[in-house]
Symmetry: C2
DNA sequence: AATTACCAAAATATATGATATTTTTAAATA
DNA sequence: TATTTAAAAATATCATATATTTTGGTAATT
């Protein structure tokens, strides 16, 4: 219902973006208009619109007269993204904590609860669906920054986070109990409004993520 | 020659973006496809592509089934943008200084020289062209961050800076000798690789800009 | 064998016209 | 005044057509 209400363009945009994030469209793959037209059942003009948007988001690269292709990935790019994520997410977290209020604290608790249940499930059963884990992880981190009271900052965070997400789904794996503990600390320090400690855990959390990644690249 | 080589879409993209930044297309103005088609002499499909890109850049807002309109401006938005600019530009500056080298120092000196000449001219003659000033100012600040060695960071900075630029051209005016001094200090501390002092000046520089702006909003 | 030149096929860039929907506007009604 | 309704305007999408550019392969040249 919610989904089918959207326009063709919007739906296809989501689909292609998802396919890039989940790796169904591999890095550097040439995105030929005719091919896409057949695969996604939309017109060329709509597709060009979509690809233009995606190139703004950084998931697609566009070259004049040559067309579009899926953005490349690299270890150094991941490092850059991770550093930016630390910068942006920390900054937003700081303001979220300053503006802390019961409503927000409640939503953070809720988001953590769901994430925690899922991570524990993953710990026991490795075959669990990975995309769900990422959904809860995203939700938790996005809740962390949501209270910062700056629309621009939230948007920027989403931009970076999505790029990071792509790497998570391409090369990062669930780190197990380490990640669980970090999330718990992140929650606790946030509820205590202890920015310094929360920030340290966050930075560690993201750094640990990419250390883990180095193996699989 | 260089310009006319580009595609119609690219040229029109630049034109519309410029018209928004310079205020020829006023905030909240509805961007009707047919109207734009007549004014910019391009097809609807090309225009939709362009507007899609611009909405990714944040200069245009898109609403499903309702179309496109020029992004609004507000004092609080300017404040958010300024804060983000401080965050991003400081961070990038830090790394630029760490990676400092003669080449970069040279280009920074050059950029400052041109900016300085122009600002002094402005000080004497208020009627001078304002868009030129902004060009040199942009160039100087972009040179500051260029050496940070992170493509993502540079792109992010450009994104924010352009949004800031729009406000500069819409509501900010030349502050006179204050700005000149700040730029000079920014240059000197950067050449000394004194991040702490350079950062402080930068923050002050941007803050002073928006204090000045409050009057005209 | 490597490089260059050239041609055909593929792909992009752009424009236009057609159709279905949706939104907006303005008029009509209660 | 508020609500409803009908007409007009605008968006969303697609298909098609054309010019230009890029690509890939073959032949010619060094």
């Amino acid at each position: 219902m919610i989904d089918s209400y959207k326009t063709v363009g919007e739906n296809t945009y989501e689909m292609i973006k998802k396919d890039i994030i989940f790796g169904n469209l591999k890095p550097l793959k040439k995105l030929k208009l005719n091919e896409l037209k057949n695969n996604y059942k939309t017109s060329i003009s709509t597709l060009r619109e979509i690809l233009s948007r995606l190139s703004g988001d950084g998931f697609v690269v566009y070259e004049e007269q040559k067309g579009f292709y899926v953005s490349p990935v690299s270890k150094s790019d991941l490092k850059e993204i991770a550093n930016l994520r630390i910068l942006i997410e920390s900054h937003a977290l700081k303001y979220s904590l300053e503006n802390s209020n019961p409503d927000w604290e409640g939503s953070l608790l809720a988001a953590h609860h769901k994430l925690n249940l899922y991570e524990n499930k993953l710990l026991k059963n490795k075959t669990e669906e990975r995309s769900n884990w990422k959904r809860y992880d995203s939700e938790f981190h996005q809740t962390l920054v949501r209270n910062c009271n700056s629309k621009n900052l939230i948007e920027l965070h989403k931009l970076i986070f999505d790029k990071y997400l792509r790497y998570q789904l391409l090369v990062l794996t669930f780190r197990g109990s380490g990640s669980i503990e970090e999330h718990k600390k992140l929650l606790d320090y946030s509820l205590e409004r202890n920015f310094k400690k929360a920030q340290m855990v966050l930075e560690e959390h993201i750094q640990n993520g990419i250390i883990h990644a180095n193996k699989s690249f």
